[in-house]
C-alpha cells in the first residue's frame, strides 16, 4: 500500500485535472443542506463539511433508473449505462464506502445486475477519514472503522494543511499516477500523525452496542412483544430506508412516456411502506408497522448475515439522525437484546 501527501492547496487542481475525464461527485453545501452530487466549478470546502451528506447511494444506485424503453411494435431499447461514463466519488466517509462493498455482494450475486455493476466498475471511491465522527456514528459496533478501507480506492486523512493519502487499489494507483506531480512522499512524522489520528478517531465514536450473538437472538424472538413496543412511535415514512446507504430494495414499474412509448423503471422501495410485499390477492404478510420495522432490523442483522456473512449495516447513524420521531436503531437493538 502506497502512502502519499497531497497539499490542500492542490486539491482543487487535482479535482480540476480529473473533471474532464470523470464526473466528480462530492458533498456540497446547498440551501443549508449537505448533499452529495456532481461537483461543479466554484464549489468549495467539500471535505470540511461538518454534516453528513444525507444520501450517498444514489451516485451508483439511482433512486429512479430506466431499465429499458419499449413501443407498441415490441421495439425495446436497453438503457444499461455505458462504461465510458467514469465517476469519482470524492470525500465519502469510510462507512459509506463500506456500504458500496456490501451492495456489491448483493448486486453481483446469483444474477449479476449490469445496471449497478457497470456503474460501480467505472467509479473510483476516494474517501476522507472520519477523524471527527458524528453524534450517532456507531460504525465500530458493526465491524467498521472511522478510518477503514473497505470499498475505497484512496483514503485521505486530514493532517492540517495537507492530506495523507493511502492508495488501496489498482484504480487508485492509476489515478495517482496520472496526476503524479501533485503528490509527494510522506515524512515519518506524517505517517505517525496519520496513525495517531486513526486511533483517536476510533476512540471518538461515541455510540456503542455489543452485537455479538444478535443474529442468534433474532432467530428466537420473532414473535416477542418487544417489536410492538419499539414500533409504537414509528410513523411508517421512508426516511430511514431511503437515506440508508445499505438499503437496496427496489420496485419495478412500467410507465407510459410520450409518443406512445413506455418504459420500465426501477425505483427505490421501502419496507416501511404499505405497498411493500402487498400481494396481488390483497394479503400482506407485513400488515402493520410492527412487522415492517421488525423486517428492517431482521434484514440488516439476520438475513444479510445468513446470506453474506456480515451485518447489512455500516453504522453511519443516518437513520437515527434523520428520524423525525426519534426511532433510534441503537436504542432499539439494545431493547431487542434485552428481550432475549
Amino acid at each position: 500500500m502506497d502512502m502519499l501527501i497531497l497539499k490542500k492547496d492542490a486539491v482543487n487542481e487535482f479535482l480540476a485535472s480529473l473533471s474532464g475525464r470523470y464526473t466528480v461527485w462530492a458533498p456540497v453545501q446547498k440551501d443549508s443542506d449537505t448533499v452529495f452530487e456532481p461537483f461543479g466549478a466554484g464549489q468549495h470546502n467539500v471535505l470540511d463539511l461538518t454534516h453528513q451528506a444525507k444520501i450517498i447511494k444514489h451516485a451508483i444506485f439511482p433512486q429512479t433508473e430506466q431499465l429499458f424503453s419499449f413501443d407498441q411494435n415490441d421495439q425495446i431499447q436497453e438503457a444499461i449505462p455505458g462504461d465510458r461514463e467514469q465517476n469519482i466519488l470524492f470525500g465519502i466517509r469510510p462507512c459509506d464506502a463500506r456500504s458500496f462493498a456490501l451492495l456489491d455482494s448483493v448486486f453481483a450475486g446469483d444474477i449479476p445486475d449490469p445496471y449497478y455493476l457497470v456503474r460501480r466498475d467505472t467509479t473510483i471511491l476516494i474517501g476522507v477519514a472520519c477523524t471527527e465522527p458524528f453524534a450517532n456514528c456507531f460504525c465500530t459496533s458493526v465491524g467498521g472503522n472511522p478510518c477503514g478501507r473497505d470499498g475505497l480506492d484512496l483514503l485521505c486523512t486530514d493532517l492540517g494543511d495537507r492530506y495523507l493519502v493511502a492508495v488501496f487499489s489498482e484504480k487508485g494507483t492509476e489515478l495517482v499516477n496520472k496526476t503524479a506531480s501533485l503528490f509527494t512522499k510522506p515524512s515519518a512524522e506524517d505517517m505517525k500523525q496519520g496513525q495517531e489520528l486513526s486511533h483517536r478517531a476510533e476512540r471518538a465514536v461515541k455510540r456503542h452496542i455489543d452485537l455479538s450473538g444478535i443474529t442468534d437472538t433474532l432467530a428466537r424472538i420473532f414473535e416477542h412483544p418487544v417489536w410492538k413496543k419499539i414500533t409504537l412511535k414509528c410513523i411508517g415514512c421512508g426516511i430511514c430506508t431511503y437515506t440508508c446507504p445499505t438499503c437496496y430494495c427496489f420496485d419495478i414499474q412500467d410507465e407510459s412516456m410520450a409518443q406512445k412509448r413506455g418504459r420500465r423503471v426501477r425505483v427505490w422501495d421501502s419496507c416501511m411502506y404499505k405497498e411493500y410485499t402487498l400481494h396481488a390477492s390483497g394479503h400482506n404478510p407485513r400488515p402493520t408497522r410492527v412487522e415492517r420495522l421488525r423486517n428492517r432490523i431482521y434484514h440488516k442483522f439476520k438475513f444479510h448475515v445468513d446470506t453474506y456473512g456480515v451485518f447489512g449495516c455500516v453504522g453511519c447513524g443516518r437513520c437515527i439522525t434523520l428520524c423525525p420521531v426519534n426511532e433510534d436503531l441503537v436504542e432499539n437493538l439494545i431493547a431487542v437484546k434485552g428481550a432475549a
Binding site: 461538518t50 453524534a135 415514512c237 410507465e255 425505483v267 421501502s270 411502506y273 423525525p324 426519534n326 433510534d328
Partner: protein, 325 residues
Amino acid sequence: MIVQKLKEEAARALSRKDVKYLIGYKKGSYGFRISPIFIEPKEDIDKLTFSPLCNMSLVKYVMMEETLPTLTEQAMKPSKIALVARGCDTRALNLLIKEKGVARDKLYIIGVSCTGVIDQRKIEARFPEVTDPADVIEENGNYIITCNGQSHTIPKEELLADLCTVCQYPTPLIYDKLIGDKAASRPAHYDEIKEFEQLPVEEKLAFWQQQFSKCIRCYACRNVCPLCYSTICSMDSLNPQWVWRSVDTSENFMFQIIRTFHLAGRCISCGECERVCPMNLPLMKLNRKLEKDAKELFGYESGKDPESKPLLTTFHSEDPQGFIL
C-alpha cells in the same frame, strides 16, 4: 411546575377505567430530540416530560392505530386514548372530531398551554452533534440550555420555531384537563406569503420546481400530518396509479400539489410536514398560502371552533367566486 402537574394528571387519566393508554412526550435518546412515549395503565409515568423541545405533534398517533382483525367479543373494552396536546394540536383534534375522523369520546385530552417550541434545526445548528440528552427550560424570555455539561442562555426568539412566532392559539381549545395558565397569542401575519405572491408566475414555478426536485418521496410529510388520514392514499393507489413511482420533479410536483390541496381549508399550522422533511422543503409556504386564502376569502380558520363546519362542506351564495374560471 408544569411537568409535575402533567404527571399528576397523567396518573389520574391512567387510573380511569376507560383509558387504555396515554401518549405523551419523553426525553429523546440523544441531543435535543424528544420522543413520543406510550404508557399503559400501571406502567411507570416517570419518563413523562414537557419542555420547549416538545416540537412534535402526537395527534397522528391517534389516527394511526392499526387494528388487526379481532373477534367482536375480543375488542378492547377501555376505549379512550389519553393524549398530551398543545394549542395547535387541539385545533387538529377539533377538525378531526368535526370530520368524524375520530370520536370525541374516544379521547381524553390533557391540554398543555404552550409558549412556543424550539426549532430543532436552529438549536442543532447552534449546538451540533450533541450526544447526551440535553435539557432546556424557558425563563424570562430566554432558553436555559444544558448540554455537554455546560449551561447556555439564549434569547427565546433566536430558537423559536417560525410558526410559533405567529401562533394565535397557544392555549388548548378543547381538553378534559388543562395544565398551565392561558398562554399569550401572537399576532398573525402572512408577510412572507404576501412577498412570495408578488413574484412573477415564472419565478414561483422555478422556485417550486427547484424545491420539489429535492423531494425523495419518503412521505414523511404525509405520514406525520394529523389531517392526512385517508385509508387509501392516492399516492399508494395501484389501480389506478395516479402518480408514477418514478421520483422526478414532475411526479413530485403532482404529489405535493395533491397533498397541499387536500389540506385546503384544513391545515391547522402545526408545521409537522416541514419539521420532518429530511430534504428541508419549505412546505408551510404552500399551506400558509391556503390558510391565508381561507381566512381572507371566507373568514374561516380551521379547527378554531369545535362547532363550525369544515370549510369545503359549506356553501353560501355570497361566497367569493372570482377564482372559478
